[in-house]
Every structure is written in structure tokens, then in C-alpha cells.
Amino acid sequence: MMDLPEWFPLQKQDSLNVERKYWVEEANLRLSRLTSGEKWTLNKTPHLPQEEWENRVSLELAGHVLMRMASSMDDRLTGWLIEVEGDLFEYRFEKTPIQKKMAILRALFGSEAVFTLSEFSRTTGRDLKREFGLSESSSILQKQEIVYDAGGVEARRSVKRSISDRGGQRRIITVRFDKASDLVNNKKVLLVEGFAIAPLMVFNGTIKSSFEKQLRQKIRETKEQLMLLGDKNPVNDILDKITKKMNREIEFAPADGFSIELLGKRAQQDFDLYPPCILRLIGDMRVKGYLTHENRLQLGLFLKAMGMSVDDQLRFWYEYSVDNVGTTYEEFLEKSNGGYQVRFLYGLEGAGTDYKAQKCKTLQNRYFCFFKHTNINNIVTAIENRFHEEHEKELLDKVITSILSSVTRGYYWDACSRYLSLLSSPLKKTNTIYHPVQYVQQAVKKTEGKKASEEQEKDKTDSEKNKTQQETQSEEERVSK
């Protein structure tokens, strides 16, 4: 039997061990905690009576299950719930002891797909310590330190530093390759006999994604069951109440099918509002004169989503690509077979499919994500070059550090939202970025807010200046009299 922590919401439950009259209250309580961004976990303190502890666990799980049911009929509520429950899971997972962490991993990936290093060595008969210098825990770091000998000559020595490893985040674990696709794809892990081997913390992003994926599946199954029951469902009234409350409390980020009206004409003309992936593609095109097929597709669909017409986009490709220098527009059209590729994106060629801009997850996996596919040094340089005039160095360094921390943990959408925050107030929390067009919408809002407050500030300064001028003038008049 797996030793799962009590709070783990995906474990099998036969029924809600809570009286029906408390259901709405429990769901509402969880809703308000989640909407406020609160992170909490369940801990059994030594003096807590067992009955009370069990009661708390039941209430906790009931709140989760009811929200799952209430959100299942609405895609936007489902999306929101998966995101906030994913964040809560991440917080709790980090605080969980290593044995329970392993139990969660086995529940998420399957017990045949997760092993500790010693279990793996036993199963495969390989001495990974000898082959790759691996030991169960990487909490002892071998470091090179520069020292000086008696004569003041520089020498290097190897020192061992013991570092704290609460929660076993540095414990080396092995996860089957198909459960850690992103890490395998980026060649970021040691791969031996089909298992990705790395400290547990390297898998954090993968673990969270897997939790979210399975939660989505559970919600889908719930939806199917509720649809089968239809009007005969005895708890419809309760679920209705919770759904209504959710719709009132949650402030939604824009859904898919972003409205161009919301963006306004500004988005088409102001590249400063574009996400870093798109800026990089435009930059590459201007410097190199061409983009790969995938990159062209990504940029083309993004520009289409920005509301560019086919003709405007053809003009864009003509003007921005250095390859076309000395070529007339007509020659360019001829060379590009009448702009076939651009027309294809708009469904005017080929099978007539009206393609949509890809979301961040797709870009990360198959196209270009600035944070996933750019070298760390280049990320730092790009941010410094763009924002060094707008923000104090200390503040900028702080944001860059947090961006790099997200990048190294594989939270590219988080890195992107932190990057976005640099457009106005760098320390203010922004919504997670999951679509490049959503980035632009947020950027429009942020910069307009910033512009408005700058104008307000300017008005205030001007009126104070006027007031001082008037005062000086009347003082002068008084003196002259």
C-alpha cells in the first residue's frame, strides 16, 4: 500500500465523509482560499486527537471534490481550478518528506516507472556510482576551492560541503523516459536503460504537469458521470450554488480566441508589447534574412492573431527580411509563389484550415520558447539590454534572478510573466502566461496603466508648477505694489 500523504487529492475516495449540510460551506471556504492565492497544507500535530485529524482531512478532500464537480461543466472554471490546484500541489509537495514524495511519484507515474537510485542499481545490476559518480543523495557537494599554500602560491583543492536537503529535493531518483519527456527532449538528464536519472528537484516541473494532467482527466470523468445523471442528480442544487459562487469570485484571464478588439490597433504597431519569443524571431529574420519553417509558422500565426490582414503580413515579410533587399514587392511575391505560405496560414491555400496561434505549451514542445530554448547567458543579456534604462540595476538583477530560477526549474510560463512585469511594476505579481496573445493583452493593460499613472503624475507636477508660478506671480505683484 502506498504511503500517500492525506492531502493528496487524486487518491481514490469512495464517498465524501462529510455531512451534506456542510458541503457548500466547505467548497466556498476552499474557493476563497484559492482565489486569495493562499497556500496551506495539512499537518498532524502530536496533540491533535485522531478523530479531529480525520475530520480535517475529510473536510479538505470534500472541498476539493466538490469544486472538481462544480467546475466540470465549464471549461473556463476547469482551467482555472487545474491551475490553482496545481500551484497548491506544488507548494505541498515541496513540504512533504521524501518517502511520501516517492509515494506521490508512484501514484502519478506508476510504480514500475519510478525507482530510488539503489532500487535502480539493484534491478539493473549496474554500479552507477562507479560509472557516473552518482550517490543516493547529492546533499554533499564536491566543490573546487581556490586556496593558497604556505608560499602564497595558488592551488586548487577539493572540498566537501554538506548542505541542507529538507524534503529530499536533492535525492537522486530515476523516472522512466516516457514520464519525463521534456527533460529527455532537452537532453537535460542522464539517461540509462530507459530511465532519466537526476536529483528530484529537476523533475519538479514534470511532476506538477503530470498532476495537472491527471486532475484534468478526473474532471473529465466527473463531467461524463454528471452528464449521465442529468436532471436526476440529487446534488444538482448544491453544485449550482458552488458554480455560481465560482463564477462570481474568479477573475478570468482572457480565454482562447483572444479578441483583437481588446488589443486595439496598438498591438499591431508596437513591438514592445510582443513576448520575447516573437521579438527574437523578428530579430532573427532581420539579421539572418530567413527563419526555419517552424519559426515562420509561429511568427506568421502570431501576427495573424494580432489582426494583421494577409496583405499587411505579406508586406511585413517583405520589409523585415534582409533577404529581400534590392527586390521589388512584385518580385518578392513571385519568388514566394504569390505569398503561398502566408495565404496558407489564413486558410486561403491548401486544405483551407483557418489556423490559430499556438499556445505556450505547444511552443515549448515544438516551436520556439525564448526561455526554454535560449542559453542562460543570452537570456540575461537580452533582458539587461532591453530594460537597463527603465529600472535600477539592483531591481533588475532581482527580477533576472527570479526569472533564471524559474527557467532552471522548467517553469517557462512563470519566467515569461516575470519578464512581462518589467514592462511596468517589476515586483507586482502578474498572471501566468500561457499564450503569446495573452501576453500582449496583459502588456497592453500594463503599459496603459503605467502611461495613465505617468500622465496623472505629470498632471500633478504641472498643476503644482502652475500653483507655484501663480503664487510667485502674486507675491511679485504684492511686492511691486
Partner: protein, 326 residues
């Protein structure tokens, strides 16, 4: 006698020479009716969404229709038909397949071959790629059931049949491509990507297979282009040609500076690393040429490569006409 392949030739071949056991070596053992097949019946007439209750029925179809191309598809929950297509029946799995063709190397082929042309020199690129892929799949991924096929024209396929690969989705298949890809956009930008230090076995393999092969094929001019002096380049090549003691690529490259070593490895990857057709691996409903069938355009059969892939050359495969004459 004309070399043009006729319907009669194909019918004769499928009746008297077709060996279904070749096909059975690449597909996993499941009820036969669950497998989709596709066919090119004649120039431009292509059909898919076909399934057969037995190998006997399949063979009868081949004899009756004499198709110019035969393709194997994925495994579905039940039989697919014209009126119950692969979109209507639940997908269950597909073998994992890697495909690479000589024309993917056009940008770096130095022998003068282009497109479907292949010579011994450029075929060695395919052999390097096969060695690299096989070693990576067996050791890093732990796969055991690998079969290599020659497509009949200019490419080779590697079929992986291990149980764990059959249900892999597109994203998971794509991750294998990501792991094996060292040259991005092979026909355009040709960006070389070195693995991270964590992917140690992959890194070592770059030296032992790709680096080693490039050392054998490189010239003094190539090395000078990387910034080595004539003397340094001479010393490197002297070590490569030594027969009394075989030096490892790492030992040979230790003779030059780290910067030059890095440049050398990047160049070796650019020139000789595997250039896999991503779409074939990622597409979970892909139709792939069936071993034992005839490649209508090339006039040769698609066959299983038995034995060492380094000893296989396409010109050793008899044409359909030669098979029929025998």
C-alpha cells in the same frame, strides 16, 4: 527488355516471391485485423483505411491488386474500413520508427550526390547515423527489440518493437527525437546542439562514433579550416592513421587546444550526425513502407537488413526484375 515495372511484374512478385515473414519482423504480435494498411494501387491512386482478417487475405489482396507501394499503419481497437476510418476507431499504438534518407544530407554531402542518388561515400553517413541511433536506443533508452529496414530507394528505417514504445503519444515520441537530434533545421540554418553535461553517455557517443568517423574522413584542409596549424593537423592525422596502436578520439583530440577540440566536435556533428525525418517518428498514424513489398519507383524491394548495418549497401539489393529473372 524494358526496366519499367508492370502490373504483371508486381503480381508475379507478390504471388511467387513475397515473404510475409519480413513484415512480421517489424510489427508487434497482435490480432492482424487491428492493423491499418495503405496502398498505392497505381500512379497517383492511393488508398488507406484497409485492414485484413488474416495474412492470407492480405496476400490475396496484393496478388489481386498488385500495388506499386504497400504501407503499414498503426494499431486500432478494431478493424478499420472505408466507412469506419482511422478517425472513427480508437488508436491503440504504433511501433516507434526512425527514418533517415540520404537527401537529408544534401547540404553536407561532398561526393556530388544529390536527392535520391547514393554512393559508397555518402552511404557511410547513413551507416554512422544508424550506429549512433542503435547505440543510443539500446543503451540510453534500454530498447531491446530493434529491426532495421532498407526502404528500397535511398533511406533506412529503424523499427522499435519494445512493449513500452507502442502506446507512446506524439509528445513522448517527439522527446526521443529531441534527444537524438544534434543538428537542427538540417536543410536551412543547420544549428548544432551539444547535449548538456548531464547527458554523459550521449556526449561520449558523439566522440566515439561521430568524432571517430569524422577523424577518419577528414583532411588536412578541413582541420586547417578549424584553425589548426599545418603541423598540428599533420600530427592529428598521423595518430589517426597509426595502426600499431589504435588511439581513441579523445586521445587524438587531446593533442589540440580545447577551443579547437570544441570546433572539431561541432563540425563532426554537422557533417556526420544522424538527420532523422522528425515527422515519421512523431506521427502516430503514419503509414510506413512494408518490408517485403516493392518500392514502385525504385524497382527494389524494401527489405530487413540482417546482420551488421555497416556491411549493408543498397546496390547489393537485387531489383524486382532481377528477382523475377531468377
Amino acid at each position: 527488355m524494358s526496366d519499367k515495372i508492370t502490373k504483371k511484374d508486381l503480381r508475379d512478385y507478390y504471388k511467387n516471391h513475397f515473404d510475409a515473414s519480413q513484415m512480421l519482423k517489424v510489427i508487434v504480435d497482435l490480432p492482424f485485423h487491428k492493423r491499418e494498411f495503405g496502398f498505392e494501387l497505381s500512379e497517383g491512386i492511393f488508398i488507406r483505411n484497409r485492414s485484413f482478417s488474416s495474412i492470407g487475405d492480405f496476400k490475396s489482396f496484393l496478388i489481386a491488386e498488385a500495388p506499386s507501394a504497400v504501407y503499414i499503419g498503426a494499431i486500432y481497437e478494431g478493424a478499420v474500413k472505408r466507412d469506419k476510418t482511422i478517425r472513427d476507431v480508437a488508436w491503440e499504438g504504433h511501433e516507434l520508427v526512425f527514418d533517415f534518407d540520404a537527401d537529408e544530407y544534401d547540404a553536407v554531402r561532398t561526393c556530388g550526390c544529390k536527392g535520391a542518388q547514393v554512393c559508397v561515400i555518402c552511404w557511410s553517413l547513413m551507416q554512422d547515423a544508424a550506429l549512433f541511433i542503435e547505440d543510443t536506443l539500446r543503451n540510453d533508452f534500454g530498447f531491446k527489440d530493434l529491426v532495421w529496414t532498407f526502404s528500397g530507394r535511398r533511406g533506412i528505417h529503424c523499427w522499435v518493437r519494445d512493449e513500452v514504445v507502442i502506446p507512446l503519444d506524439q509528445n513522448q515520441r517527439n522527446s526521443l527525437i529531441g534527444y537524438l537530434t544534434l543538428v537542427h533545421d538540417p536543410k536551412g540554418e543547420q544549428r548544432v546542439e551539444l547535449p548538456s553535461i548531464y547527458a554523459k553517455p550521449l556526449y561520449e557517443r558523439i566522440y566515439s562514433i561521430i568524432g571517430s568517423s569524422y577523424l577518419r574522413h577528414t583532411t588536412i584542409e578541413d582541420l586547417k579550416e578549424l584553425g589548426l596549424t599545418k603541423r598540428e593537423a599533420g600530427v592529428v592525422l598521423e595518430r589517426v592513421s597509426q595502426t600499431e596502436r589504435r588511439f581513441t578520439p579523445r586521445e587524438i583530440l587531446s593533442l589540440i587546444s580545447l577551443e579547437h577540440e570544441q570546433k572539431f566536435i561541432e563540425k563532426a556533428i554537422l557533417m556526420r550526425a544522424a538527420r532523422i525525418d522528425h515527422k515519421v517518428t512523431i506521427d502516430i498514424r503514419r503509414l510506413l513502407r512494408c518490408p517485403g513489398s516493392i518500392h514502385g519507383k525504385a524497382g527494389k524491394p524494401c527489405i530487413i537488413i540482417e546482420g551488421n548495418i555497416s556491411d549493408f549497401y543498397p546496390e547489393d539489393v537485387p531489383t524486382l526484375k532481377e528477382i523475377l529473372r531468377k
